[in-house]
């Protein structure tokens, strides 16, 4: 359902972010993106969301080249993908509840659905008591869980999680991974960029490793550090 074809992205000053990436991800897969800081994981995700456009190459999503997608159709694309951003990207002027409700509002969910779903997903990530807090009033790990809750609320076809456990203790990380695994089992494709060796090694899923913008490994049931 997702295919990168010789995708490269250079920033000004000739900075290489990703170089000549080709990969296919099938529906329902669970893929870890690993690699050192600055290897290009977030860049790949931004390309997929059309937050940036590749310098060259094509990216197919469900058969359509999203690099050719018209600007006004971009929101549609984004709404079909649930994303946990590395920097959370919560709306600072909205409460936890409103942040998640917002994600439902933009896809046109009914008020009734919103009132039912938001509390459910909040309790799933253990934040029921923080529903009325603003992002500024949350601990780092709590913000991260709000972002996770928001990414799953619309039951998207793909969930992309960029370092979703960077601010979480091992125990909470484990809880979150259980949620992701559950969702993945129901057919949702999951792409997760992470530095958490314990999680990757334990899950034994497909691992794509980047180095300086290129794929240097793509192993099914792989570990964080090659093998």
């Amino acid at each position: 359902m997702l295919e990168f074809m010789e995708v490269s992205k250079f920033y000004k000053k000739q900075q290489v972010a990703v170089k000549n990436i080709s990969m296919k991800i099938k529906k329902g897969e669970f893929v870890f993106l690993v690699g050192k800081s600055g290897a290009g994981k977030t860049t790949l995700i931004k390309l997929l969301l059309k937050e940036i456009n590749p310098t060259s190459g094509k990216i197919y999503y469900d058969g359509n080249d999203i690099t050719k997608l018209k600007n006004r159709r971009v929101p549609e694309l984004r709404r079909r993908i649930g994303v946990v951003f590395q920097d959370f990207r919560l709306l600072p002027k909205m409460t936890v509840y409103e942040n998640i409700a917002f994600a439902m509002e933009i896809v046109g969910s009914s008020a009734k659905n919103i009132r039912r779903e938001v509390p459910t997903v909040l309790s799933m990530v253990g934040l029921s008591s923080k529903a009325n807090n603003y992002p500024d009033e949350l601990a780092g790990g709590e913000k991260q869980r709000v972002a996770i809750a928001r990414s799953v609320i619309n039951k998207p076809q793909i969930i992309i999680a960029d370092e979703p456990t960077g601010n979480l203790d091992p125990e909470t990380s484990h809880e979150i991974m259980k949620i992701f695994t559950e969702i993945n089992k129901r057919g949702t494709t999951l792409i997760m960029a992470t530095h958490d060796r314990a999680i990757v090694d334990q899950m034994k899923k497909r691992v794509i490793e980047l180095k300086k913008g290129s794929i240097i490994r793509d192993s099914e049931g792989g570990y964080y550090n090659g093998l």
């Binding site: 059309k50 929101p75 990207r89 919560l90 046109g108």
Partner: protein, 298 residues
């Protein structure tokens, strides 16, 4: 656009105003302030034009001096002729005796001079008021040719002076109002721009999560509209109230001396309301839309 989306956009707009209270108050204040300036100047220009106009009208009479010892019939015939002319608004007859009386009155203390005169040297006359100064030339030429008309006098100098003054006032006033209008629009849209720019991050975040342009733009447009509306509303209240009180005060204290009254507040209410609301709401919502466009990367 569905009802749900409209409802959402309205909700978001009002939340946006509330969440950015400080900004909202500052924008509303600036919008109101600019419109107050515009309004005050508008009223001043209006009144100056009005005063010039009234003064002009006072002088705007054509004197038709008749030959001496005309038959009553001829005199009234001339009157009828004049009355039937195009552009004549009214005609009044003035006997030579009345004219002398008036002259004595006008001269006041200098009237002694007239005492030495035995024969009233003044003629009988018709006094014509025109519908418009533009007709003067035409009427004069015609009237001058009537038999029995000795001379036609028109305070051409004064009238021309007044006409040119009033033309000047009108031109200058319009120029000033237009400049002010443009500046007001500029300031208001600048204010809205600053208000929107301060929320750049918010706008971007919404887009990252997949909010369509309409979803991002809608609430901002309504916000701008509401800010503009409140601002113009405040301006309307301030301007009309100030003018009301100023009008009473000025008419009270100065009208006798200026021998002219300022334009009645009730006359201008509708125009002020329409102008202010149009500018406030128009620039508020359009300004938002244009400003936000910069941040709508997609």
């Amino acid at each position: 656009m569905g009802f749900k989306k409209a409802k959402y956009i309205l909700k978001q707009a009002f939340q946006g105003i509330w969440r950015n209270r400080m900004m909202s108050v500052a924008s509303i204040g600036s919008v109101a302030a600019v419109l107050v300036i515009l309004g005050l100047i508008l009223l001043i220009v209006l009144n100056i034009s009005n005063i010039t106009l009234i003064t002009k009208e006072k002088f705007d009479e054509i004197y038709v001096f008749l030959e001496e010892d005309l038959e009553e019939e001829v005199i009234s015939h001339i009157g009828k002729e004049i009355r039937s002319l195009d552009g004549v608004f009214s005609v009044a007859y003035e006997t030579k005796e009345y004219a002398l009386e008036k002259m004595k009155e006008e001269w006041g203390e200098d009237a002694d001079l007239l005492e030495g005169i035995d024969n009233n040297p003044l003629p009988n006359s018709y006094i014509i008021r025109l519908k418009s100064v533009d007709n003067a030339e035409e009427v004069i030429v015609k009237v001058e040719n009537y038999t029995g008309v000795e001379e036609v006098r028109y305070y051409k100098d004064v009238i021309e002076k007044l006409v040119s003054t009033s033309d000047f006032m009108r031109t200058a006033g319009s120029v000033i109002i237009i400049i002010l209008l443009l500046i007001s629009i500029f300031i208001i849209s600048n204010t809205i721009k600053l208000t929107v720019a301060s929320r750049k991050t918010e706008i971007e975040l919404m887009q990252y999560v997949g909010a369509s342009n309409g979803f991002v733009r809608g609430p901002f447009m309504i916000e701008g509209l509401v800010l503009g509306l409140i601002g113009s509303f405040i301006a309307i209240l301030i301007v009309l109230n100030t003018y009301d009180q100023a009008a009473v005060y000025i008419n009270d204290k100065f009208s006798v001396m200026l021998s002219v009254y300022i334009v009645k507040p009730t006359v201008i209410v509708k125009d002020i309301v329409i102008i202010f609301i149009t500018i406030g709401v128009g620039i508020g919502s359009l300004g938002s839309l244009v400003s936000i466009k910069k941040f709508l990367s997609i």
